[in-house]
Amino acid sequence: MSRYFLRRAGESLIALWLATIVVFIGVRSLPGDPAIAMSGEGREPAANALIRQRYGLDEPLPIQYLRWISITITGDLGTSIRTGQPVTAEILSRIPTTLELAGLAGLFAICFGLPLGIAAAVRRGTRLDYLAGSVGLIGLSIPTFWLGIVLILIFAVWLEVLPASGYVPFLEDPIQNLERMILPVIVLGSALGAVLLRQVRSGMIGSLGSDYVRTARAKGLTERQVVVGHALRNSLITVVTILGLELGALISGSVVTESIFLIPGFGRLIIEAVSRRDYPVIQGVALFSAVAYIAINFGVDLLYSYLNPKVRMGSTAQ
């Protein structure tokens, strides 16, 4: 197990290094530069030149990359060109918000995706299955931004039961905080819930028909024991895999969701930074999400190998 752990850790570091190159090249291929993007109507060539000089933007790209990497290794992501604040501080101030949003959305998705998926698989072909299928399909079919705007129209503008947008930190006012999270969580969680529902149902049907479940049935286990003891374990693998894979989708979704509901999270930071060409912030944010993703999938892999020992043996046999 520890050898497996070490190997996975090494692999993650390589992936991370590849990621830094992808980020850097991607960011520097963007047309425009921070000085031009930031200046708005105040187009002062001298001021723009100074910004380029101050942030080393006129140096050769490999040198800029090395400089970025060398300070990044020390945990310093540099300074935002736009605001002059440290990038690390900007990210850390946005993270709790997005974590709360994404966490609640994930929970929401599991709460409706997992039970509905299992029920649909077990009661295959019944009305319940069709209902679950419809819910899953519709969840997949609605554009996030559209759902957000329609929900604001219905609940905030017409019914006036929920606030349209905005964010109140949890510690400041928990009730306001949760009230303002309801719509964003539904918007962000519905697509994920739909994916979960469908995958759980499909995986569950697959395992209910598989050899070992048939063997279990043949051994005289009750259907309940079969479902809970065997098939459910496989569904959990599906849930864990999907959550790991959909983490990126959650962050993507949070970009749109946060824009619609004006939540000062990570997603909005990304969009702002890209539109302002604030290189240090884009790079920092992208790297941060890459680290988070790789770390979480590292965890998922470990969990996966725990849930399904066959895979672990298979991949370490080489």
């Binding site: 963007l30 047309p31 425009g32 530069d33 031009i36 993007a37 930031m38 200046s39 708005g40 109507e41 105040g42 187009r43 002062e44 060539p45 001298a46 001021a47 100074l50 910004i51 101050r54 935002s80 736009r82 605001t83 002059g84 604040q85 900007e90 101030s93 705007i149 604001i152 129209l153 905030a156 503008v157 006036e160 606030p163 349209a164 947008s165 905005g166 964010y167 824009s259 619609i260 004006l262 000062p264 909005r268 930071l269 702002e272 539109s275 302002r276 060409r277």
Partner: protein
């Protein structure tokens, strides 16, 4: 009988109260103190440092936090703010004397005086990376002979100087805070103003609170002002309706009618100096900093450019793109500006356009590309232009881009036509010179006309208003004939607020002044 006596008594009390509050207004109840206003900001600020800020989003915050030597009144006339009178200009136009207020303190409690003014002006003028240098380029030295007098020495007469001092270049910063923070002043700005800076989370909010140090604090009513940057105009209006905002700084023309019909909201409007225009690449072959050259743009041809312009139906644009709520325009000066020449825009001349296209001998359809900063309203405008100029033989492609790419293309000359809105300034010089002077910072077409340059230089240095008006009439005529910038609309700005908000007025610069605004606690 008893009832009527009570009524009379009540009336007497009201009259006494009104008499006591006489200096304000006799008929309206005196504004209540307290409350907080959440207002939208159509664009987030870059930095809150008046010297280095470039965005209109920062101006929206400064207006309530950083007073200037001069301000505008609602109609756009210049009035003293931290100065006590309009400047005195010497005979040769090279010495400008500005009297400034006494007994004023900055929001950190430190005293305001002429020396502080000089310190700020010098910073605006000379700090490395300052975005105020061109506005103050005529100044060669500033001095404070006594605590209430500032003397500026100019290299050339500058008729636009007072107008420059009514915006960021005229904002005075606390010398103590400047010494403390230096280039980081924007993280905790301290000026003279009705409200003072509390905190800012970039992209989320900027909070200001009522300043006790302000010289006119008794006429400031709100406790707190919270700015929320919201780029999406639909979301801004939805937030107002949902009660999360009390004031929206810019309302989309598509939302105006519905808000006007709703008794819960008040829509305020003002014709501004802002305009929408198209910049045509005439000779920008080597970038804004390079020499003019030959470009591959059919509209570099004067006759085709004229044909393109004649094919445009500005009234239809106003009706269909802006719900008829803006003013069709064809020049750089707004009809709301005293320098407007009163000349009406010619109507669409499709036949004239077709004739010019035929005469040019260029094969139709003439393919030309319009780049716009991506937004529903810009795309709408592009699509309508597309169908209008198609009738004259142009095949207009519309390319929506993000702002940074559009700015870059504009600099590099990588465009045929670029949609270029301008937020407008009070003085005509600031709306024309940079775009039309041969070496202007924003002469993206790279159009060169020495005679126009001479007129622009002259108009800068003449202080007599009537003489300047005559010069600008000539300038505008030349600009309209040249069509390096094809003007489309003068913007009428719309703001909306809840009916509980009292005393809000929209000024010609569109900045939301909250100094004398109050909330009725009903």
């Amino acid at each position: 009988m008893i009832r009527s006596r009570f009524l009379t008594a009540g009336l007497t009390v009201a009259l006494i109260a009104a008499a006591a509050a006489a200096p304000i207004t006799a008929q309206e109840p005196s504004p209540q103190r307290g409350g907080e206003v959440n207002l939208s900001q159509f664009e987030d600020a870059d930095t809150l440092d008046p010297t280095f800020a470039g965005t209109a989003g920062a101006r929206v915050v400064f207006i309530n936090m950083c007073e200037k030597l001069y301000d505008l009144d609602a109609d756009g006339a210049l009035v003293p703010q931290l100065a006590t009178a309009l400047p005195t200009v010497s005979e040769d136009g090279l010495t400008v004397t500005i009297p400034v207020r006494e007994g004023v303190t900055f929001n950190d409690g430190t005293p305001f005086d002429a020396a502080a003014v000089v310190k700020s002006l010098e910073r605006h003028r000379t700090a490395e990376g300052s975005r105020r240098t061109s506005e103050l380029s005529s100044i060669t030295a500033s001095a404070a002979p006594d605590a209430t007098t500032v003397v500026l020495t100019l290299a050339r007469p500058d008729a636009a100087l007072t107008a420059s001092l009514s915006d960021r270049a005229g904002m005075i910063m606390s010398p103590t805070q400047l010494d403390l923070l230096g280039a980081d002043f924007g993280n905790a700005p301290v000026c003279v103003g009705p409200f003072k800076f509390v905190d800012r989370v970039v992209g989320d909010h900027t909070t200001l609170e009522r300043s006790e140090d302000y010289y006119d604090a008794e006429h400031v009513y709100l406790d707190k002002v919270i700015y929320r940057p919201i780029a999406d105009e639909t979301v801004r209006t939805a937030n107002l309706r949902a009660g999360d905002l009390q004031l929206v700084d810019r309302v989309a023309t598509t939302d105006v009618a519905a808000l006007k019909d709703d008794p819960e909201f008040v829509v305020v409007e003002r014709t501004s100096n802002a305009y929408t225009a198209m910049t045509v690449n005439i000779a920008n072959a080597n970038g804004i900093a390079g020499e003019p050259g030959v470009v591959d743009d059919p509209l570099a041809n004067d006759q085709l450019r004229k044909a393109f312009d004649l094919a445009i139906d500005r009234d239809q644009i106003n009706q269909l793109v802006y719900s008829g709520l803006q003013v069709a325009g064809c020049g750089p000066i707004s009809p709301a500006n005293p320098y407007h020449d009163g000349v009406a825009c010619p109507a669409r001349d499709l036949e004239g356009a077709k004739a010019l296209v035929t005469a040019s001998g260029v094969a139709t359809p003439i393919r030309v590309e319009l780049q716009v900063a991506s937004s529903p309203v810009n795309v709408r405008l592009g699509e309508l232009l597309q169908s209008q100029v198609a009738e004259a033989g142009f095949e207009l492609a519309v390319l929506p881009l993000d702002n940074a790419t559009a700015f870059q293309n504009q600099n590099d000359g990588a465009f045929d036509i670029m949609l270029t809105p301008w937020s407008g300034r009070v003085d005509p010089d600031a709306n024309i010179y940079r775009f039309h002077y041969s070496t202007g910072t924003d002469n993206f077409p790279k159009a060169v006309d020495p005679e126009l340059d001479a007129l622009l230089d002259e108009a800068r240095s003449v202080n007599d208003v009537e003489a300047r008006k005559a010069l600008y009439a000539q300038i505008v005529e030349r600009v309209k004939e040249r069509r390096s910038v094809i003007y489309l609309q003068h913007q009428v700005l719309y703001s909306a607020h809840t009916s509980a908000l009292q005393g809000f007025e929209l000024f010609v610069d569109g900045m939301p002044r909250l100094k004398s605004v109050s909330l009725s606690q009903s």
